[in-house]
């Protein structure tokens, strides 16, 4: 009924204000429900969230790349994966490399998440959660390398207080660009 009203009016001044504002919301709600019911239409290699955790397991940065209503669930996933990292670090397997710990962490029982971890020399942990079935090891390693470079640049900011959360906008943008370019086409 709203649509008929809009189409019949050629001049925008003739619309009521609330009708005018509700048109884009109407479109937005339909598109959101569309994506919610068909999640496979999204990109194949999709990173759901990345997190940086300090050496006392304090969260320094958490960024999710899906809809905002599952932020709490992502926090929980990241928190659980910290335990797995601690286990790996305290029982060192002499055959494994000591720096790049890319592991298939928690395969979350209901929803097919893969959690990868990376531990720097300064005991800072990077966590990456992805909903992907087939991720190559090299892709994840190069993702973490770029992410480490962005993290180092953010920490070297003289206004950043070590131990507090990272609040730099340029860091968020760089992380967003790295996440968007994650996929089988990465050559670095």
């Amino acid at each position: 009924m709203l649509f008929k009203g809009i189409n019949n009016k050629l001049r925008p001044q003739s619309l009521d204000l609330h009708q005018f504002l509700s048109v884009p919301f109407y479109f937005l709600s339909t598109s959101l429900t569309f994506f919610a019911f068909f999640p496979n239409l999204s990109q194949q290699n999709m990173i759901v969230c990345v997190a940086v955790v300090g050496h006392q397991n304090n969260p320094l940065y958490l960024q999710s790349f899906t809809g905002s209503d599952d932020a709490l669930k992502l926090h929980h996933i990241v928190h659980c994966s910290l335990d797995v990292i601690d286990e790996r670090v305290n029982n060192p397997k002499r055959s494994a490399s000591t720096l790049n710990e890319t592991f298939l962490g928690l395969l979350y029982p209901t929803e097919n998440y893969k959690v990868y971890g990376y531990l720097t020399n300064t005991k800072v942990k990077f966590i990456m959660v992805t909903t992907d079935l087939d991720v190559k090891d090299a892709d994840v390693r190069s993702f973490f390398r770029k992410f480490h470079a962005a993290y180092v640049d953010a920490v070297c900011n003289p206004f950043h207080v070590p131990g507090k959360k990272i609040t730099s906008n340029s860091f968020s943008e760089r992380v967003g660009a790295i996440v968007r370019s994650f996929g089988p086409s990465m050559t670095l």
């Binding site: 050496h55 490399s97 000591t98 720096l99 531990l119 720097t120 020399n121 300064t122 005991k123 800072v124 480490h148 470079a149 993290y151 180092v152 640049d153 920490v155 070297c156 003289p158 070590p162």
Partner: protein, 171 residues
């Protein structure tokens, strides 16, 4: 992101920072000035150690971390390595640099040194040099702290272009 700065700028900034803290900000409280300079060095060392440990495997024990400081960290900062490393295997390390880069520009006024009457001037020369050395002590402490080793660092300058840093690891 590799922008470069002339080395004389670094020398100038450090000398001016030390003299600002020692003679302008906290001129009546030299130990407070020393603590502030060391705290600045701490944060700088913290951030530098993040950057310079990026591509390397983790250190297995304290000795490897100290060796990293002596070799890679020092050569990134001062383009040379530490000349001599001594340890007593009980948590104390002495790092000796025979030609410390930031001290090469320091000249103690020879007239004041030779003159026994003006003891205050020669003392202030030595004090100013020791103020200058708090900054690299802070850098070493910040770098080791970021690698998980908490320690206390002090400097010792008996003959001038050479100086040694004593690291005491807190058990």
């Amino acid at each position: 992101m590799g922008r470069e700065v002339a080395e004389s700028c670094i020398d100038g900034v450090i000398i001016e920072m030390v003299s600002a803290y020692a003679s302008r900000f906290y001129s009546s409280k030299p130990d407070l000035a020393a603590r502030r300079i060391e705290a600045i060095g701490f944060q700088v060392g913290h951030q530098l150690s993040e950057r310079y440990t990026m591509e390397r495997p983790r250190f297995a024990d304290h000795l490897e971390a100290i060796k990293f400081i002596c070799k890679d960290f020092w050569s990134e900062l001062f383009k040379k390595q530490i000349d001599n490393l001594k340890t007593n295997h009980r948590g104390t390390f002495v790092l000796q640099d025979n030609h410390f880069r930031w001290l090469t520009r320091i000249s103690l006024d020879p007239a004041a040194v030779a003159n026994n009457d003006a003891t205050s001037e020669s003392e202030s020369g030595a004090d100013m040099t020791s103020m200058l050395l708090y900054f690299p002590c802070g850098i070493i402490r910040g770098a080791l702290n970021n690698l998980g080793i908490s320690c206390a660092v002090s400097a010792d300058m008996t003959n001038l272009p050479a100086c040694s840093f004593v690291i005491r690891i807190k058990a």
